[in-house]
Amino acid sequence: MPHIELEAHLPGITGLLEYRKDTGEPIRVLTQIILRGPSTLTEAERELLATVVSHGNECRFCTTAHAATVDLLLGESETSERVKADIATAPVSEKMKALLTIAALTGKSGRLVTPEVIAKAKAEGATDLEIHDTVLIAALFSLYNRYVDGMATAMPEDNSYFNVLADRLVNHGYSRLPQGYDHLKKQNAKP
């Protein structure tokens, strides 16, 4: 049960962003820019960075949501599964392996990011902006993971919730829905 009263039909992060919309808004705007704005990294690559950090922080809600988003973008689930299991042998580019390593380290502590892992990423072709965005994505998900778990938010009752969520994150992005989230009340109600 969440530590404070949140809307029951909004598990995970959504109930928190709706609880205090004035802090929710800049968090949403930041996420939309960094995960959906113009970038030399694909949306799937950026979602993989979010997934690896959430997985490292053992945040079930965020890991499931962003892995589902990667899977929908790529049309397969092998990549997200293998990145979670072992970055070194995952089916991604050498540049992505270096960026995923930087993200995983940042998720633990910014102080763990060494000149060596940065040099490796640059040698594989990563630009300053890609390195910047990787660290910021990892830092942002360190916020999300602690926010979601620190408030003890609920997991959805049904795992199909994540399919609906991934569809929204792929086709709409991170901005607040103009009509709000009341329509989820029916969809999410117990049969």
Binding site: H3, I27, V29, C59, R111, V113, P115, Y144, D149
Partner: protein, 193 residues
């Protein structure tokens, strides 16, 4: 040396804000709303103390020094109070409610799942409201982001106490949305050794 090519005239997160203004805008809007804008019950000084304490636990020199300075300027320029909270919140001359909130903040810093129902019940018994508990968790989580951003890119983090005091005074007065002043880095580097 920073991991990427950052503007030299600004320390810490300010160099990152200059590097990528698009993401700077929501990052500044968030900290302004959490720490500076009016709050129903928590003073700006109390909220800055939470941010400072979490930054200390994350060993982020820049964030700890700048938010400590901002807290001090919100709290009648009481540097000793900031020092006492950082040394040990339990024995610092602050309210029992703020002590309970700082305990929750420390749990969030070490991992969201560490916050127990008991921690929250204890804070409530000291008078903490839902919004205070929410904002404490969010501030602590947000500083786990800001600290990682600042340290993960190895930004320039000066050792000059007078510089943090000057920047802290500006932020306490103006909030987070105004332009920062440039820092003469050559001077800082040569005098700081």
């Amino acid at each position: 040396m920073p991991h990427i090519n950052l503007p030299q005239e600004f320390p810490g997160i300010r160099s990152l804000f200059m590097f990528r203004p698009e993401t700077a805008a929501p990052l500044n809007a968030l900290v302004q709303t959490m720490l500076h804008n009016p709050h129903p019950t928590l003073s700006a000084g109390e909220r800055e103390l939470i941010a400072t304490y979490v930054s200390r636990l994350n060993v982020c020199k820049y964030c700890c020094n700048i938010h400590g300075a901002i807290a001090q300027h919100h709290l009648d320029n009481n540097a000793e109070l900031v020092r006492q909270v950082l040394a040990n919140p339990e024995t610092a001359p602050i309210s029992d409610k703020l002590k309970a909130l700082l305990k929750i903040a420390a749990k969030v810093q070490s991992g969201g799942k560490k916050v127990t129902e008991g921690d929250v019940a204890f804070a409530r018994a000291e008078g903490a409201t839902d919004i205070e508990i929410h904002d404490t968790v969010l501030i602590a989580a947000a500083f786990c982001m800001y600290n990682r951003y600042v340290d993960g890119l190895a930004t320039w983090q000066p050792d000059d106490a007078a510089l943090y005091d000057k920047m802290g005074e500006q932020r306490a007065r103006e909030g987070y949305l105004t332009a920062p002043f440039k820092v003469n880095r050559t001077e800082e580097v040569s005098s700081g050794g």
